[in-house]
Amino acid sequence: MTIEKAYMLISIFLFLSGLLGVIIRKNLITLLISTELMLNGVNLALVSVDRIVGGIEGQVFALFILAVAASEVAVGLGLIVALFRLRGYEGSSEITHLRD
């Protein structure tokens, strides 16, 4: 086992625990933080594969993922604040309008 493969294992762990956080957390803001966790895992996987293959394309794509993460945070937090101001929702179990 080389060190890059070990880093890939860590990145898989980051991604799956971000998914677990999206499933189990109650607060909407912590839900978004778990999404950031998943994006960090993907970034780490791209960079470590880059080190194995010996190129730089993965780092370029990781830069694009950083840009997408920034815009996702802006829109997602705007949505959460609007949802809180209009309806007073703060937990993920309160949004049941489509179900009812």
């Binding site: 998914l19 677990l20 978004l32 960090n40 970034n43 293959v53 370029v60 802006a74 937090l77 604040v81």
Partner: protein, 162 residues
């Protein structure tokens, strides 16, 4: 020495991930997310991606986390108090499935072999910037358009209705 650095960084990252998942208070979860970001930046440095490590520190640890803290301060605290922690039943149902999928991924990574192109990159920042502004110029412009759209969308969402 390499494995020593790896062990230190990975232990740090795993501890902060557990903090993000299981701490009750959203602010504490956010602080352990900052700690995770620092650990991932250290991993990038160890993997010789210096430009990405710097950008990770600038964009994540400064811009995004400050944004989260600002939003948390706008929401009343007693409302946040009602929804802290995590769902027990969903955790018990989801954890074994994710454990099995982690085992599958780990098997695929450890048994598989990667393609080896084998060109050594000397100056990381220079090479990445050169490739960013020649080969990937169009995706870079598209990324700037995405940022602009996100800014306009956030302004529209956060505006007060007249």
């Amino acid at each position: 020495m390499e494995w020593l650095i790896f062990g230190f960084l990975s232990t740090w990252a795993v501890l902060s991930v557990l903090g993000v998942l299981f701490l009750k208070n959203p602010i504490h979860a956010l602080l352990s997310f900052v700690s995770l970001i620092l650990a991932v930046a250290g991993m990038f440095l160890h993997l010789r991606a210096e430009l990405l490590a710097g950008l990770q520190l600038i964009i994540y640890a400064v811009a995004i986390v400050v944004f989260y803290v600002l939003v948390i301060t706008t929401i009343p605290w007693e409302k946040v108090k009602r929804f802290e922690g995590f769902y027990k039943r969903e955790f018990l149902a989801g954890f074994p499935i994710l454990l099995v999928s982690f085992a599958l991924f780990a098997y695929a990574i450890l048994k598989g072999s990667f393609a080896k192109v084998g060109l050594e990159v000397k100056d990381n920042v220079k090479e990445v910037s050169k490739s960013l502004f020649t080969t990937y110029l169009f995706p870079l412009e598209v990324a700037s358009v995405i940022l602009l759209t996100a800014m306009i969308g956030a302004i529209l969402l956060g505006r007060k209705e007249e």
